[in-house]
Symmetry: C2
Subunit: 406 residues, 2 copies
């Protein structure tokens, strides 16, 4: 690979992703959809300009763990406690129902194998914090009661989703679906989830100390990226997907993270802010590469659009994806409009769903048609949900104001 | 290449570079020397842990054009005008004498070929703005008269060095050393140097406009990196080395850049500052990878240390490198201590010298022993010069104060 060819490919990816993201934003659609489309346009589906070369693939992998790092960084464990039981109910039902429905669609509806059906169910569990938080913020409802419930449920959903992902990952590389395998992974993941943030916190304290004495600039970018890479590598060594490591590192470094013991390591807001400021440009540089790669790896020509399978499959999945998320809010005590809004807010699968589907494709579990069907469902839920939420808010605005001030 | 293996290699490179840079800084040595050493330690010369895989090599290439972008960003064309004639005299002599001496050492002293000798001379022309500016800033002399002369001369040196590099590059890939080739390159480079900053300025104006209207974060990292990659690619297409593009893009976006015509495009300090803030973390992440790769590509085992050649060659080169830079200050009207200080400040070759040598090695012109000899000279000049400068300043401090206030 010649250096200047690589430069050209990378800059085409970055610029096209940006142009499509901007267009998506003008159409009031999440920018991640634009980046995905950029990949579809550049890849074998349309223009065929860009082939996924190894160096770009590896940079995309950095992008995805950095994105999970950012999600972790934005996670507030205390918010979970505050939103409390209601979030838990919404999250649990919004996790288990889509999983069961998606699994059923695959296993019984379309006679797919156990592992494939598990992956399909797993992909439907995701809730895109990114998209949901963005819409709530746009509407200035992120601190309203229903906003708190939604954000809390989305975070819990993410944590459960990552654990499930670790499980499926182990099944796919290890010896199939067994209880022993599942037990091992859950022990590892739980251990990792408790120990990794503490270890990361300790390391960040060391980095903070060095940062106050060093004369050479650039400490935070190199050491924090190294920290994230290290936990991704560690997660992999323990049999969990690399993303889990990125998420754990982000959680540990988040502004509101607290350790269960020891006040010596409590979060330092100014240092956390410093990390955010310096890491954001790096995260923003790498993550679009991932979503473009997802679009690139989708070859729409290879799919037989005349076969009834793909249409029936994505329709059935779409119903599972929507219904699965709408039930939860009816299990909690909230006014009817709030229930609809919470349900709609949980529907977009966004980047987390894509990560799931991509992992399934990469490990060879999902074939091209199933993968395409899932990407279609992910894209539609992600694109439509913001419009639905905005519609519901403007329709019920009067009654919601009352609910919020009650 | 497995993703987790890649993560591990990248994090080892980043962390080792940092540890060695910190150690170098504690020993009052430029941090670039530490990063170089990190590569020597990790590579085939010592531990043999890391092999230069393609993805890391390509990331190192991004690092080096981003470094040149940063140098361009820090360049102040007005400062050149201010330091004026004295800088020009120091720069011209500090460029041509080392070139002639280095060439003579190679061509007549050691019977090397024309192209190899030209590369040796070219490598010796460099002056490390980074190292010199750092020492001057540490001593708070960057705004003193001699500081202005030194910085101006170092910048001019860089510009001439990059043009020379473009020439040698064309000779090495094209049809050897001919006047026609040289003329073509000089026309291209001059055209590039005049047109590229204007084009880059225009593009940055567009980016600035989008930046004020966009809702999606991350515009600057993706578009500015794309801009730098584009000019690197463009430079290559015009037969110049990629670095030249990075430098031109940086120059265009620098806070003090001005276009010869049209006030509509004059520099906007707040936007330039914004670019600096967001690009710094990215530059700091990528550049150490380049210097570690330089160390990695140096296999000290392959060098026959018992042969008199390497010793005689590096000794002769060392003399050429020092003497060539010391003559210039005696051609201008300055007190004797100032002359010594200016001479010492011009000696460190630093990263620019390394880039030269690395380009020669990569294109197969410099063999292992010549390359090693040059890296030794670059390392010694870079390490020693700051000590000499500090020694001269503390010895002549009394007389310099008078000169500065005169």
């Amino acid at each position: 690979m010649q250096t200047h060819d690589f430069f050209l490919i990378l800059l085409i990816i970055l610029l096209t992703a940006r142009v499509f993201a901007e267009l998506a934003a003008r159409l009031k659609t999440p920018s991640v959809i634009g980046e995905l489309l950029a990949g579809v346009v550049l890849g074998p589906s349309l223009l065929g300009w860009i082939e996924p070369i190894e160096a770009i693939k590896l940079m995309a992998e950095i992008g995805i763990i950095l994105l999970l790092f950012e999600v972790g960084l934005g996670t507030d464990p205390r918010q979970l406690a505050r939103a409390g039981l209601k979030s838990l109910v919404v999250a649990l039902s919004g996790f288990s129902l889509p999983f069961l429905l998606g699994f059923s669609v695959g296993y019984w509806g379309f006679d797919l194998s156990l592992l494939v059906s598990l992956f399909i169910g797993g992909t439907l569990t995701a809730t895109s914090i990114g998209v949901t938080a963005r819409v709530l913020t746009d509407l200035k409802r992120q601190h309203a009661p229903e906003g708190q419930i939604i954000l809390g449920a989305a975070i819990l959903d993410d944590v459960m989703g990552v654990v499930l992902l670790a499980l499926l990952y182990e099944f796919s590389i290890g010896g199939g679906v067994t209880l022993g395998n599942a037990g091992k992974v859950i022990i590892f993941v739980v251990a990792f989830f408790f120990l990794a943030p503490m270890a990361a916190k300790l390391m960040s304290t060391i980095i903070k100390h060095i940062n106050s004495t060093t004369e050479i600039p650039g400490l935070i970018p190199t050491t924090i990226v190294s920290l994230v890479l290290f936990f991704a590598w560690l997660a992999h060594s323990m049999g969990a997907p690399e993303l889990l490591g990125g998420f754990a590192a982000g959680l540990a470094l988040s502004r509101r993270f607290f350790l269960p013991f020891g006040t010596a390591l409590h979060a330092d807001p100014s240092f956390a802010e410093c990390i955010e400021t310096e890491m954001k440009p790096i995260i923003h540089l790498f993550t679009p590469i991932f979503f473009v790669m997802v679009g690139l790896s989708l070859n729409l020509h290879e799919i037989d659009w005349s076969s009834p399978f793909i249409w029936a499959f994505s329709m059935a999945l779409m119903v599972a994806a929507v219904v699965g998320k709408l039930v939860g809010p009816w299990l909690i005590r909230e006014p009817r409009p709030t229930r609809w809004i919470i349900g709609a807010a949980m529907i977009p699968r966004g980047e987390v769903g894509l990560i799931f589907a991509e992992l399934g494709r990469e490990s060879g579990i999902l074939n091209n048609e199933i993968y395409a069907g899932m990407v279609i469902v992910i894209a539609i839920t992600t694109v439509l949900s913001p419009f639905v939420m905005k519609g519901l808010y403007s329709r019920f605005s009067h009654r919601l104001q009352t609910a919020a001030s009650a």
